[in-house]
């Protein structure tokens, strides 16, 4: 087939060919470069292709005449500024002249900056106002962003002012420009660099504001450090020289508000200040603030030292007063808005005249005028929408929150306020610009997406308002919980990017007002939860549940029940939480609310599988949770998917399935870093959970490192006084202990306990673990009464909060049993260990790896009681369970191997003992290296077996090694004393016995240390003293002591 004719191609382009013909043509076109070219010419394509190279080699930034950028043809270069170059260009599509501005961001965050530029330029492009230079088009070119602007035939206001002008004329032009600024503010945009050079005055006399400071940080959050708001603080002489020499060039600081000069955030009020500096200068012929350096200038502005204008000025006092108010150093003392300032500047009649003049000027362009009025009315509506923000974070509430914080008189309140205010300012500012954007985009009511975005943002605003309401009544605890409160504010950008998956199901219009009202209250209750005020939250939510009774809107019911369940879970009431959550689940199912269904399953995994340790059920719950997350889409709901990883990881840990826990948590950590960022609270949860896995894998150094990362992150987010730090401190302490750093561990636990006791009732669930651990650590130090006291508290708390059969409860029982053992109350010890065993077995079954620990303790007690067969049976069973779970070469099984070795030594089977000890030593050296307290114990174990076999010569070097390890990394003083004693024995039995004196010294050292441990070391102490009696200290080194 030959090439189709132009009519066919033209029809093909607009989709008017009959289907069969269209396919023929398409088939031809796919193989015909000439037709492709013809189609490109006919289509509404971007004609960059095939046009001569844009940039001449060597100067890639400069565009030559005739070069094209997007669809624009460059004519000439008009000028260049700090951020880029401006060209006059032609738009062939719309047959008009434009100014083309190319912005090339530089620095480390080019991509981020580019996106920001683009977003802001797009917002600006939606702003249509007679006194703002119109942005026709915005696009990307390479690393840069370009703006196609209205080309204004005229001059800058700076040049315009060089001619003498009557003050009325000056004021008129400034009022124009001021209206442009006001319109930008209403659209959520801040100019940031208002000055006469950035206002264009057309030949028609109309002023238009241009050059919005696109590339500067928007808010107090200051996200782009390499583009400072204020010029860097140059040495005083330099700025002095530049200021006086080239005033206009470095002119910007002269117009900057003090807060801007100080590098703080910039808002509409800063623009007002700049506007007034420019107006003052234009009216009186001099700048309001004197200063030969930046510092002096800043000081004058901050102190509000305005130079007195000349006396002969004809400018009325009304105008002067208005300008002076706009120049106040404190933003809140200026006019609340540009509109207010303009109203004060323009007297009533003159305002009317101005409006009439504008109307007359545009009357001949009816279409334009009407379009403008409509756009203006819509912009006004949007301004109203955005004002809703004031209820959540207006100046008044901001001030009340600040006052409330400072009134707590806590040393950390000021710091917390700084962090809080900058975070909330940024949140508010982002909300404002997104809401304006979506409102403007919803113009005409056709954009469903924009409406969804608006609804999503409005719901976020309730949450914002609820949080700030709690903050307004901040007490010390709320101040402590600021980081969680801030972290609980859901992201805003997602409302723009994926509103569908960020918006709750919406009821019919009829129900909407009541559902909205309920959701607002729900947000308030949730804020209570985040502030740690659980009881208050439960009360509010329960009341809300009654209120919505009869409303018959299931998704709402599900939301309320879900929060209620969550609150109960956080308050440690797992059983109630479970019941409520199932009700939430049914409501959500009935309301087809998949998102809540997913959240409920995930939370149930935590409550039932982790908190209540009903691990059999946990597997099934996990399947439900996984299935619904899959249905929702991991990518669409990364937050829920992340939560699921976290909760499942927790359950796998409770189940002792370390590999699976490791998998879940590693995946979750990655997802969390991607979703929430590396420094988020959520990420710290994964770090600490992985720490728990490492700890259980007997990798204490790795675990410690993870806990320390989590600790740093949390202290940064929470400050150092936060009660929630306790958990991680407690975990940290456990690892410190494993690494032989007992005193650090104890102080870490004490810090954890103190943090918790300061904020919670003495029987709160969270006190359990630190109490338990502190008790165990004190037991090792021989402080048995203190230990028993802590452990009994821990036991009571575990029994009540986790249930009598929870592994944690069993752990506390075992620890109490070992205190009884150390106290030499062996019957009591036996009873504790039996209980621990029975309880864990009834919860997890006889084959659970969690049964191994109580079995081992039971064996140890029975060994001392002389019940060797029973002891052996239990220890072997523990060994078997641990082997099955962790493999035969895991260091975990050493917890059974060492007691077995001791048992065999007592039972007179030293060869068996030796085998056990050597296996333990191998495992530990593989897992931990050669220098840990565990290795020292293994060395002692091997040495003792050698001694029992009569091979003292072999025992000595092993024991020397063990002793030196113990000196470097001490842990259990009894174990260490025992090593000294064994070495004494070995030296004493060695042939030739050349070191009897040292043996005596070592025995005495062991005796003293054991004596210091009191009851705990009574049995061992008896052995030592007996040995000492048989081996009196030699009177001379050469004489061999007689042995029996």
């Amino acid at each position: 087939m030959g090439c189709p004719d132009e009519t066919t191609l033209s029809d093909f382009l607009v989709g008017l060919l009959p289907e069969a013909r269209r396919q023929e043509v398409l088939a031809h076109v796919e193989g015909c470069a000439a037709c492709q070219r013809a189609l490109a010419a006919g289509g509404d394509s971007t004609p960059t292709a095939g046009v001569p190279e844009a940039s001449p080699p060597g100067s890639p930034e400069l565009l030559a005449r005739g070069a094209t950028l997007s669809r624009y043809v460059v004519r000439e270069r008009l000028g260049s500024g700090a951020m880029g170059v401006v060209y006059a260009a032609y738009d062939p599509e719309l047959d008009r002249q434009v100014a083309l501005k190319l912005l090339r961001p530089e620095g480390r965050h080019v991509e981020e900056l580019k996106q920001r530029l683009l977003r802001e330029a797009q917002a600006l492009a939606r702003l249509s106002h007679p006194h703002v230079v119109a942005v026709h088009d915005v696009g990307v070119c390479g690393d840069g962003v370009f703006l196609a602007l209205e080309l204004v035939d005229g001059t800058t206001l700076a040049d315009w002012l060089k001619e003498p002008r009557p003050w009325r004329e000056v004021l008129r032009v400034f009022l124009d420009a001021g209206r442009g600024l006001a319109a930008a503010h209403a659209a959520g945009l801040v100019h940031r660099d208002f000055k006469p050079a950035n206002v264009l005055v057309g030949r028609d006399g109309r002023a238009r504001v241009t050059d919005f400071g696109l590339a500067r940080p928007a808010t107090r959050a200051g996200m782009l450090p390499e583009t400072p708001t204020a010029p860097p603080a140059a040495p005083e002489e330099d700025s002095l020289g530049q200021l006086t020499r080239t005033g206009a060039l470095l002119g910007t600081p002269a117009y900057m508000a003090p807060e801007q000069l100080d590098g703080h955030g910039v808002d509409a009020l800063s623009d007002q200040f700049s506007f007034c500096v420019a107006l003052y200068e234009a009216l009186y012929g001099m700048r309001p603030f004197e200063g030969l350096s930046l510092r002096e200038l800043g000081r004058a502005a901050r102190e509000g030292k305005v130079k007195a204008p000349g006396r002969d000025s004809k400018v009325p006092a009304r105008v002067r007063n208005a300008v002076l108010r706009g120049l106040r150093p404190r933003p809140e003392e200026r006019f609340p808005s540009m509109e207010a300032l303009l109203a004060a500047l323009a007297p009533g009649p003159s305002r009317v005249r101005t409006w009439v003049a504008v109307s007359a000027a545009t009357a001949c362009l009816v279409g334009v005028a009407v379009g403008y009025v409509v756009a203006h009315r819509h912009a006004a509506q949007c301004a109203q929408e955005v004002e809703k923000l004031d209820a959540a974070w207006g100046p008044a509430r901001r001030e009340r929150v600040r006052a409330a914080f400072l009134a707590t008189n806590k040393p950390y309140a000021a710091d917390a306020w700084e962090k809080l205010s900058s975070a909330l300012d940024a949140h508010a500012s982002l909300w404002r610009s997104l809401r304006t954007e979506s409102c403007v985009a919803a113009d005409g009511g056709t954009s469903g997406l924009a409406l969804q975005t608006s609804a999503c943002l409005d719901a976020r605003l309730w949450q914002f308002a609820a949080v700030t309401e709690v903050l307004e009544k901040a007490d010390a605890q709320t101040v402590q919980n600021v980081p969680q409160l801030v972290a609980s504010l859901e992201g805003l950008a997602v409302c723009r990017d994926a509103p569908a998956s960020s918006t709750r199901p919406q009821p019919s219009e009829l129900l909407r007002p009541r559902v909205d009202a309920a959701r607002r209250k729900l947000a308030e209750a949730r804020a209570r939860m985040e502030a740690g005020r659980h009881a208050e939250g439960i009360e509010m939510t329960s009341a809300l549940l009654k209120e919505i009774d009869g409303l018959d809107y299931r998704p709402l019911e599900a939301e309320v029940l879900f929060l209620l369940g969550q609150l109960h879970g956080h308050a440690g009431k797992s059983k109630e939480a479970e019941d409520i959550l199932y009700r939430a689940l049914w409501a959500a199912e009935a309301g087809r609310d998949d998102e809540t269904v997913a959240r409920v399953w995930v939370l149930l995994v935590w409550i039932v599988g982790d908190q209540m340790a009903r691990v059999g059920e946990a597997d099934r719950l996990a399947q439900h949770a996984r299935a619904v997350v899959e249905r929702l889409g991991r990518e669409r709901f990364p937050a829920i998917a992340t939560d699921l990883h976290l909760r499942l990881g927790g359950v796998r840990l409770v189940q002792g399935k370390l590999e699976q826990a490791d998998d879940e948590l590693t995946q979750g950590l990655e997802l969390s870093r991607k979703t929430y960022g590396p420094d988020s609270l959520r990420t710290s949860y994964f770090l600490s959970s992985l720490g728990r896995v490492r700890a259980r894998q007997n990798r204490p150094a790795d675990a410690l490192a993870l806990y320390q990362q989590a600790q740093q992150l949390r202290e940064r987010l929470w400050g150092s006084e936060h009660p929630a730090l306790a958990l991680n401190l407690s975990n940290l302490a456990t690892e410190l202990l494993s690494l032989g750093r007992a005193e650090e561990a104890i102080s870490s636990w004490r810090r954890a306990l103190a943090l918790l006791e300061a904020s919670r009732p003495p029987d709160h669930a969270s006190l359990g673990p630190p109490l338990n651990n502190l008790g165990s650590a004190l037991r090792d130090r021989g402080r048995l009464d203190e230990a028993r006291k802590y452990l009994q508290r821990a036991l009571a708390i575990f029994e009540r909060s986790k249930g009598p059969n929870h592994p944690n409860t069993a752990t506390a029982l075992s620890a109490l049993g070992m205190v009884a053992y150390d106290s030499q109350n062996l019957d009591e010890a036996l009873s504790y260990q039996r209980q621990a065993l029975e309880r864990v077995q009834s919860a997890l079954g006889p084959d659970s790896p969690r049964v191994a620990a109580p079995l081992m303790y039971l064996g140890v007690v029975q060994h001392r009681m002389g019940q060797h067969d029973e002891a052996r049976r239990h220890l072997l069973r523990a060994l078997h369970l641990w082997e099955k779970e962790n493999g035969p070469e895991s260091a975990t099984i050493n917890h059974a191997l060492r007691p077995l070795a001791r048992l065999e030594l007592s039972a007179g089977a030293p060869r068996k003992a030796l085998a056990y000890c050597q296996r333990a030593l191998g495992n530990d050296e593989r897992a931990q290296g050669t220098e840990t307290p565990d290795v020292a114990m293994d060395l002692a174990c091997v040495a003792e077996a050698h001694l029992a076999l009569g091979d003292a010569a072999r025992a000595v070097p092993l024991l020397e090694r063990a002793r030196s390890v113990n000196e470097r990394t001490p842990r259990d003083p009894l174990e260490e004393a025992w090593v000294s004693f064994l070495l004494a024995r070995a030296l004493g039995e060695q042939e030739p016995a050349v070191e009897l004196a040292r043996a005596a010294v070592l025995a005495e050292e062991a005796r003293a240390r054991m004596a210091a441990l009191g009851t705990r070391a009574r049995v061992e102490l008896r052995e030592v003293t007996a040995w000492q009696e048989r081996h009196p200290a030699p009177s001379s080194v050469a004489r061999k002591a007689g042995t029996p």
Partner: protein, 297 residues
């Protein structure tokens, strides 16, 4: 022919001038009179200086109407464009002037990389071919049906003429993509491309060319239309008769295949060393993403 009669008779006129085999479809079309008057109105409003009797216009219109379609077909017509074309076909002076100014002068911007002298030549040929009849044959512009924009139809002819002139002169290279264009497919207006070492650039172009040749024809055409010729996703969707999203997906797949092939080429055949290869591929990938975003806006 008095005013009122003319107004009343537009539909009758049309029926009289639609070729007999198609006239049945135009019986009883609702509001035909109004639609015709609207079309005429559009033409007269757009080109007030042009004088064209209603009868001539309707007659012209009748020639281009399909057998079926009714009111919808009329509504979709570019009335003002058709009016201008019709007036040009009868040699109306103001119409010829308007055509020169508003249509012909906008053609060069889309002719591609063509020397200025060639542009003049092309425009001259276009004037001859479009506006002058030969013997009994009416000027070619009479063939314009009003279904797409006139400018688009004319530009297609312009590009065809460029092609004809090129083959006449043996200027065949116009049909090969020059290497620079090819590289632009991956990196429009990219200063970094200039920084590439000359041999790397050459390698990139060679690899791209080979990779392109290895692509299925359909995918190659799609990439060419979108990336080189810059047709928008919406336009492609219309041409391919598929939803925009499916076209976007196809472009994406084609692009990925191209990248993969290019990577293979660079790695195996050209034996670039590791770091050079990686930086080149990184550039290819990042720039292609960028240009894609840019064009898909």
């Amino acid at each position: 022919m008095s005013g009122p009669r003319e107004e009343e008779s537009l539909s009758a006129l049309l029926r009289a001038h639609v070729p007999p085999e198609r006239s049945a479809g135009w019986e009883g079309v609702e509001g035909l009179e109004t639609l015709l008057r609207e079309l005429l109105g559009k033409g007269r409003e757009a080109w007030p200086a042009v004088t064209l009797p209603a009868e001539t216009f309707v007659k012209h219109l009748g020639r281009h109407l399909p057998a079926e379609g009714g009111a919808e077909v009329l509504r979709q017509l570019h009335g003002a464009d058709l009016y201008l074309a019709c007036a040009c076909a009868v040699g109306e002076r103001h119409a010829l002037l308007a055509f020169e100014q508003h249509v012909l002068q906008k053609v060069p911007a889309r002719l591609g990389q063509v020397a200025a002298s060639t542009v003049d030549e092309v425009l001259q040929v276009m004037r001859q071919r479009l506006l002058l009849g030969r013997g009994d044959t009416p000027p070619r512009i009479a063939d314009y049906s009003g279904r797409g924009p006139l400018l688009s139809w004319v530009r297609i002819i312009g590009v065809r003429i460029v092609g004809e002139l090129a083959s006449l002169d043996g200027r065949q290279e116009l049909f090969d993509e020059p290497p620079e264009t090819l590289a632009r497919m991956l990196a429009p207006n990219d200063p970094e491309r200039d920084l590439l070492k000359e041999n790397s650039r050459q390698a990139l172009v060679t690899a791209l060319r080979t990779a392109l040749a290895a692509m299925p024809e359909g995918e190659r055409a799609l990439l060419r239309l979108h990336h080189i010729h810059g047709l928008t996703m919406d336009r492609l969707a219309t041409m391919y008769g598929e939803p925009r999203s499916s076209i976007a997906r196809r472009v994406m797949h084609a692009r990925e295949r191209l990248l993969k092939l290019t990577r293979g080429e660079l790695a195996s055949r050209l034996r670039l060393d590791g770091s050079e290869l990686e930086s080149l591929l990184g550039l290819v990938r990042s720039r292609l993403d960028l240009s894609l975003n840019h064009l898909m806006d």
